[in-house]
Amino acid sequence: MKANHGTLLAKQRRAGWAYLMPGTLLITIMSFIPIINAVITSLKTGSSDNMQWAEPLFYNYTRILKDQLFQRSMVNTFLYLIIEVPIMLILAMLLAQLLNNHDLKFKGFFRTCVFLPCATSLVSYSLIFKSLFATEGLINTVLVKLGILETNYNFLGNPTSAKVIIIALIWRWTGYNMVFFLAGLQNIDYSVYEAAKIDGASGWQTFWKITVPLLRPTIVMTAIMSINGTLQLFDESVNLTNGGPANSTITMSHYIYNNSFGQGVANFGYASAMSFIIFVMVAVLSFINMKVGDKRD
């Protein structure tokens, strides 16, 4: 009887391992091995079929230090990151708190509206914005009619306004993050909010004193996803401005793509070195994020 029980348990344990094997193998082959390969490739030079060890070994990395275009793409990406992520996450939390209010009507309608941009592709959304902000486009027509602009302005042809439009576009993710915050709030006992209301706390106080602290685990998760996503910004840069004018809005991922698959060059070694830098940035920022998220406990 006891032996039988033992084999049953062993059978169960084997079943457990068997279930997680396909996923584990796929992640290993499709993420872990390629990132190791990328590190090895980053130490090589030459075209795709004919690569040799770089001489000196860290040639591609020293090249990054001198590459002004890569540095510009890095500054751009971080600019988008620093402006976008905090505003977006605070706005998403604010929306979530408003929509979690039991007295509010039309909740479902508002929630659907805010999430809807996420249901369209980034490429679609970029092209809609490109058309709206074209020199001959709706925004220009309205601004000229209102007398704010004298003549049509080429928003996407000016580095500053083009960057502002890219940042506005990333706003598309607000609804996505809001869904996670809303879900987090629904797991918080609503009586906490009613107690705060009885104590006379304002909406703003409730937000900073109750919502933000209670949502901390969700904030850490959404912050990691947003930082990760923004550091890899590609679709917007390609489809809205194509990195232009004169590469002034290009992102790191876009520049790496151009070096490996675009523009007729297949500089895999250099592209891998640059992508490894992004990997390190993502890892460091995620680590800081988790540490900060834990500390305030």
Binding site: G16, P117, S121, S253, F268, S286
Partner: protein
């Protein structure tokens, strides 16, 4: 009896009055979110010139835009490709990731918990970093321009496995034991009990995976370099690549690219919200 009812009503209207700023804020945010999409639909019914002149109202040029789109681009081919890639990826990915989540949570021991921690690290691996090695791998395997090349890199994601693992926490373990005593096999427990009970998590995961697969752009651009294999996002990106852009036709293409994900979202909206709520605990 009458007095409390009256105060109740008064309370109600003061509550609603206090919410007016919230309503105004939500209306503005909703308008900003939805306006570009509504404008896209109306622009797809206007000529390029009307769009450029800032016409907002719906026009009568929809059919012509559609005919131009079909004659310029392989619209049905791209719709079919995108649909196949997205559906295959969603079905396969949900199966693999839910099975893993099921194994990690309901059969958990120290070793599995540690392995899960390692898998989570894959969340930090950016797509651009693995793009070159994966491209080489796919071309060696002969998977360029195939559905395998498209789906393999994102079949198993730490995010989905984590979602299923976390949502499995509320799974009734005693029911599982009872089923075992009744003679249900281990894999039977997965198909007969786990899948039906976890419906809403599957719905949420399906919405996220389908949208990610349908909307993917960077990896398809790398792995699908033949025109016959291209997806909808690639097709609409091509429409806007030239010097003179026909905005009416472009927005018609964008509309076609957006319809499937919108349908999936609207159909599964309620379960999506429930599934995510289970995940964030």
């Amino acid at each position: 009896m009458e007095a409390p009812a009256k105060t109740g009503k008064a309370n109600h209207s003061t509550i609603q009055r206090r919410l007016i700023p919230a309503y105004i804020f939500l209306i503005i945010v909703s308008f900003i979110s939805v306006f570009p999409l509504l404008w896209m639909i109306s622009a797809s019914t206007n000529t390029s010139l009307e769009v450029a002149r800032g016409k907002i109202m719906f026009g009568t040029y929809a059919l012509e835009n559609f005919q131009k789109l079909v004659s310029q681009q392989n619209l049905w081919g791209a719709m079919k490709n995108s649909a196949i890639y997205a559906v295959v990826q969603t079905v396969a990915s949900l199966f693999i990731c839910s099975l893993a989540g099921f194994g990690f949570e309901l059969y958990h021991d120290k070793g599995k918990d540690r392995l899960f921690g390692i898998l989570l690290l894959a969340m930090m691996v950016p797509q651009v970093a693995t793009m070159v090695p994966l491209f080489k791998m796919m071309s060696q395997l002969g998977f360029l321009n195939t559905v395998w090349g498209f789906i393999l890199p994102s079949l198993a994601t730490p995010f989905l496995i984590m979602m299923f693992r976390q949502n499995s926490r509320n799974f009734p373990l005693d029911l599982m034991q009872a089923a075992r005593i009744d003679g249900l096999s281990e894999i039977g427990i997965f198909f007969r009990m786990y899948v039906p009970i976890m419906k809403s998590t599957y719905a949420a995961a399906a919405v996220i995976t389908f949208m990610n697969a349908w909307n993917a752009y960077l990896w398809p651009k790398v792995v699908l370099n033949k025109a016959e294999a291209q997806t909808m996002p690639m097709l609409i990106a091509n429409l806007s690549a030239g010097y003179s852009i026909d905005y009416g036709v472009l927005m018609m293409g964008v509309l076609f690219c957006s319809i499937p994900t919108m349908i999936v979202f609207f159909v599964l909206q309620k379960q999506f919200a429930e599934g995510i709520t289970g995940a964030v605990k």
